[in-house]
């Protein structure tokens, strides 16, 4: 008896609509995933024709791929908190600069060894991340307030420590941990690449990454599913501090010192590249590989424009403009395809 009733209710239920795209990728899917990469390729072609003598040379690519390591570390630090649903950690460049300032100050002004000084710089960045995490997660203070305040505070401390001047004079042997040439590119390019790949793997294939994604999607759903939400959020802030700290040490090593006033200029590029990732590879979702591609895409565009003879202002126009346009297009494509 229940059988017939069941059949009747089955028959009444609407049949699932036929799938338009039998394959894994439909047209919109492909265009949403790879449109930025297409624009990147087009940029390279255009620059190669307009700047035939300057652009298509090995040196150009060495510049593009060899100069973005600070940004790679900072974007991955920002990614830590963004993936778990904290969209506005404004402190990343300041923590980076804090660590990059502590190292040369300790070595040059206070005669520490480079390794203990590096550890101290990284530890300081981790502590800063932990404090911010405790304020946001445990005390529920607004993230913008905490990270904006902390970032200003750290910049001030960095300027004070460095006496408002560039500290240089790290031993050149130490610089080789960052500058060592490997296949035409400095070794820290590979550090950044490895970091991005590991991060992408964690998010894609480990229980930790799955938990992070769910915490970012819904804290309440995660909590009721047994995920320790607060621990993951606190960990994200702490880990963001760690990555910024390591990035700062590598940057200071590469430069042989650090100018504490420069950190601030990384804020917009960091956010631009991370948000650009929502238009690359995984539409609508922050992802590490997309961020890395976004960084080099932005660097290519700016370098090309500078070779064309445009001034430094062009980078701001490019970063800002591309961010708005690309994310708008990606959002539209994503909405239409789903």
């Amino acid at each position: 008896m229940t059988g017939t009733a069941q059949d009747a209710s089955r028959a009444a239920a609407p049949a699932p609509p036929p799938r338009k795209h039998p394959g894994a990728f439909g047209f919109h899917d492909v265009s949403a995933r790879f449109s930025i990469l297409g624009v990147w390729a087009a940029l390279i072609v255009v620059y190669s024709f307009t700047e035939p003598t300057l652009f298509p040379r090995t040196g150009t690519y060495q510049t593009i791929f060899g100069s973005q390591q600070p940004l790679v570390f900072m974007t991955m630090a920002l990614m830590c908190t963004i993936v778990v649903g904290e969209f506005v950690d404004l402190s990343v460049p300041a923590v980076f600069g804090f660590s990059a300032t502590i190292l040369p100050v300790l070595v040059v002004n206070h005669s520490w060894g480079v390794w203990p000084a590096s550890l101290a710089a990284i530890a300081a960045a981790v502590v800063v991340g932990l404090i911010q995490g405790l304020l946001v997660v445990r005390l529920h203070v607004n993230t913008i307030v905490v990270t904006l305040g902390m970032s200003t505070l750290l910049e001030g401390l960095s300027l004070w420590m460095s006496n408002m001047s560039t500290i240089s004079g790290l031993p050149s042997s130490f610089g080789s941990i960052a500058n060592q040439d490997v296949g035409g590119l400095p070794v820290d390019f590979y550090y950044g690449l490895a970091l991005v790949l590991i991060f992408a793997y964690i998010l894609w294939a480990t229980p930790l990454g799955r938990h992070m994604r769910f915490v970012g999607a819904s804290r309440e759903v995660s909590r009721l599913s047994g995920v320790r939400v607060d621990r993951i959020r606190l960990g994200a802030f702490t880990f963001a501090g760690l990555l910024s700290g390591i990035g700062g040490v590598i940057a200071a090593a590469a430069l042989g010192g650090y100018d504490a006033t420069t950190a601030n200029s990384f804020l917009l590029p960091t956010f631009a590249a991370v948000f650009l990732s929502t238009a690359i590879l995984e539409p609508g979702r922050f992802n590490p590989l997309g961020t890395l591609l976004g960084i080099y895409f932005l660097a290519t565009g700016i370098l090309g424009l500078q070779l064309l003879g445009l001034q430094a202002w062009v980078s701001q126009v490019f970063y800002g403009g591309i961010l708005v346009v690309a994310v708008t297009i990606s959002t539209l494509l994503h909405r239409r395809s789903s």
């Binding site: 008896m1 229940t2 009733a5 069941q6 209710s9 089955r10 009444a12 239920a13 609407p14 699932p16 294939a205 480990t206 229980p207 930790l208 799955r210 938990h211 994604r213 769910f214 999607a217 819904s218 309440e220 759903v221 995660s222 909590r223 009721l224 599913s225 047994g226 995920v227 320790r228 939400v229 607060d230 621990r231 609508g284 789903s338």
Partner: protein, 551 residues
Amino acid sequence: MTASQAGAPFPEPSADTTRQHRLAVAGVSKTFGSARVLRDIGLRIAPGELHGLVGQNGCGKSTLVKILTGIYTPDPGGAISVDGRPLSLPVRPLEARAAGLSIVHQNLGLVDDRTVWENVRLGRYKTAGPLTRRIDGKAERRAVAEVLATLGVTIDVNEHVGELSAEHRAVVAVARAIQDHKPGGGLIIFDESTRAMGKQARLRFFDLVKSVINTGVSVMLISHQLEEIVEVTDRVTVLRDGQVAETGIPTKEIDEAALTRLMLGRHMVTHTRVDSHAQDKPAAGIRGLAVRSVHGFDLDVKKGEIVGLTGIVGSGAAAAAEAIGGARQARGGVLRVEDKDSRDGRPREIRLGKKHASSEEFIEAGVAFVAERRLEQGLAAEMTVSQNLTLPRIRSRGHWLRTGRKWQAEETAAMIAKLDIRPPDPHKPVGSLSGGNQQKVLLGKWLASRPTLLVLHEPTQAVDVGARHDIINAIRETARDGCGVIISSVDAADLAVLCDRVLVFRDGKAVTELSGELIQDEIIDATFGTLGEAVKAADGNREPDEKEVAQ
């Protein structure tokens, strides 16, 4: 006269003349994509009438309100008129306001840290002169004082609303609603406005509403509290599954139980009760649970037994289930769950009063909780079916370095087949599924962990008939496999076909236990206590049951 009431079996109170209706809704439907959430809605409210609107969650009440307030555009073909004048569709808020249609939202919709006059005049501020854009505070205050005077209440218009008593807050909300009405005209819709009010404040609130009614204003009252609907309204309209089940019923001729029957309908014909699967071995026990109004609640659930908890809003049945499932912080109590892997046969014990950072401890003990609000508590809409399904086990079954694709694929495929989830695509975002299929994913997410104790909160709320069938079958199957099941629901039809026994809560206590052959009507009667005999009979049954509870 009779022609105007076609379809409405009950005469209207002011049926003496063919006077215009204050609000007349006719043939209004609303379709989202392929889902028709409202079908041919028709209802009429007379001048000076207090009209109730009731229905289960998901029946279309809020969609109707959103159409009346202009947030949604109804499907073509319907008509809405106020005092005989048709409104243009979609409803334009300013036009509706001019016609005298106003709404008071949940929790009165007041801004606590602003003054009385600012709240009342919100959205209507007039500027002082042609050049300055400054708000003319003096004129605004005077206007507000006048409105308050018509309500016969004196409140300092400069007081912050957050400082006011519950009673005066209600006055402010009503003042905001009636200020544009012509004297003796207009309609106020109260959309769950009384939800956060205490009993005393509620009584005074209704005194106020009645005094407004006496001036000729009509009121539509939307509430989950059937008690207050029956007590204060003149007539009531019941929505069920997006349709008008019955409209214009005089509340003198109906009680809460009959209203509930209308709200639920008779959708139980596809199900027959099957034999109990209850075994003699215990699955779980609760001792001394204290949460919300509940104190010292004890309950034993046997393996394979399905126990229902029910009661009116605020009775404690829902809070108890949420606390047992780990979703709500309790003040005290112990939950013991049989441990399949234990060598000495001792159960696992969870202190319910302890602060739990997450449900981890409950899940490890074998407790699964299917939450009521599926997209806020149960599933992450942007994640896929498979990712949602496997989330509670992703760490225990995966390796820390990899989640493991095989078991996830197998588990998801098994649940898609078992619950007939459509479309059967494990990689679709959950948010793109229909409500019924989302509910199936949520159920599958917890069934896949093979729980010892399964706690469900309104498991068939706002799902279609086919999904309801599959969900009920899956719950039965789980019980047959030896899982203890607790269902918290107001849906007596579900409880009647599923449960071995039902505990009825009132004021934080399980006052009645029904067992044996359960009948929907008996559960409803016991819930509302409307039939003295039913309560007495149940109390008579109570003695042996208590022994069982105390075992």
